[in-house]
Symmetry: C2
Subunit: 259 residues, 2 copies
């Protein structure tokens, strides 16, 4: 247990860690308040491809979480950052509800493709347009590559199959900006001024949250809420730094052991 | 050169070998007549996913090729054969113009997915239906996996990217029935009663025609027409049995050297 670091930042996953759909994880709001009393930068990080920051924020506030927009870092933000760094004009294959996060980005005469979960754009004509841009050398930026996701009435294709199809057609590889990519964690920390060895991540997805964070040099705490299933901790090597029942216990550990 | 075999069957590719769009390869009709005078079974084999046999036949007859429907073996026929062998009810993700070749096949309450080039079916809703069938254990049968194809106004996505996407989503592999799969060549020969070591393939696609045929035990002749580009012959190992300028020269070689 490499616990004796100087901890300066905490990254917290949203869905499955702070809340499950429209229910807060019991005690999570109060635990977040306690965490705020410590000298720690906090960022909320999520792999959304459909929800802009504003709508995430709305849901969290309804559940009485005290969070500001600047503290949220999503895979959409990561994609926007990359677009700005590379100075490209993206064709945006993302859901209309996510367009807010790309306001001000030039998209006419595109020379890049950004792809998230966008059922209404996943048709032959639009994918063919993207394909031709890629053939002309445009970079392919994927929000993430999830195979599928679950809704109440069953499983639905994620963005991954469409990313993979375009990769196959053009013999190229997408840059994946969401968790578990190291770039994602580095970018999420950037505005805190902290380095990865001063940071810890709390999340319910063993591979994407904990494994990704640990691979980028952070500590990772796995919580047994949300999508956690018994045995998930065996999916990564090295194992999670710590496993907790839920977010409040993770906060307790940080306050008692890591400061 | 393993030329001293008893040759009994010739497989001939269509597009790029006998004709290029609406033009016959010079001398090809006459060469086919000469080939018919020899004691050889002839089959015409093609990787079409859009055209049923009937429409292929119509085009060839307009160009004065003497060909009967029974002599044509396409990747659609191969898919139909597999569906019949496996006794499954396919969801047909194929172009409407190809449906003729599946007449009489039960498709209600599907428990398999057959996928060709079907732009009108390549949308999120339909692909999601296919995805759920695959999750339930339905086999995925791909007509072929071409990355893209060329039309006068540019390149278009082939079926390959959509096959690959469904494979990725479900962590399974499609059975690819078209060239260059060995099953394709064996099935094409079945009605001739000949074995692969009694057969030769003539085509313009080095990998799919010549490589595929040779991998299944046949000889292969590469013609320098259609999609052939200088250096194509280096793409396969072992090299093509023979390279000819065009179909008539391939026929000359067969008649003079292999009978």
């Amino acid at each position: 247990m490499a616990a004796r670091r100087v901890l300066k930042a905490v990254l917290v996953d949203l869905s499955g860690t702070l809340h499950i759909e429209d229910l807060a994880v019991p005690g999570a709001q109060e635990a977040l308040k306690r965490l705020r009393n410590a000298p720690l930068a906090i960022r909320f990080v999520t792999n959304t491809t459909k929800e802009c920051k504003r709508s995430l924020l709305e849901r969290l506030r309804k559940l009485d979480f005290e969070i500001s927009e600047e503290e949220i870092f999503t895979s959409l933000t990561a994609a926007r950052n990359l677009v700005e760094q590379q100075k490209v004009r993206p064709m945006l294959l993302i859901d209309d509800s996510a367009l807010h996060d790309f306001e001000g980005i030039a998209t006419q005469d595109p020379n890049a493709v950004v792809i998230g979960l966008a059922p209404e754009h996943f048709n032959y004509e639009t994918l063919n347009k993207a394909f031709r841009l890629l053939l002309d050398g445009a970079p392919l930026i994927a929000i993430h590559k999830a195979r599928y996701y679950k809704k109440k009435d069953g499983l639905y294709l994620g963005p991954g199959p469409f990313v993979t199809g375009l990769e196959y057609a053009t013999d190229t590889k997408a840059t994946v900006v969401g968790k578990p990519s190291s770039t994602f964690f580095l970018e999420a920390l950037r505005s805190t001024g902290c380095s990865t060895d001063q940071a810890i991540m709390i999340g319910d997805d063993c591979r994407d949250d904990v494994g990704g964070a640990q691979n980028s040099g952070m500590l990772g705490i796995l919580v047994r809420t949300g999508k956690y299933r018994a045995g998930d901790e065996e999916k990564i090597d090295p194992a999670p730094y710590l496993i907790c029942d839920s977010f409040p216990q993770a906060v307790d550990h940080i306050l008692e052991q890591l400061l």
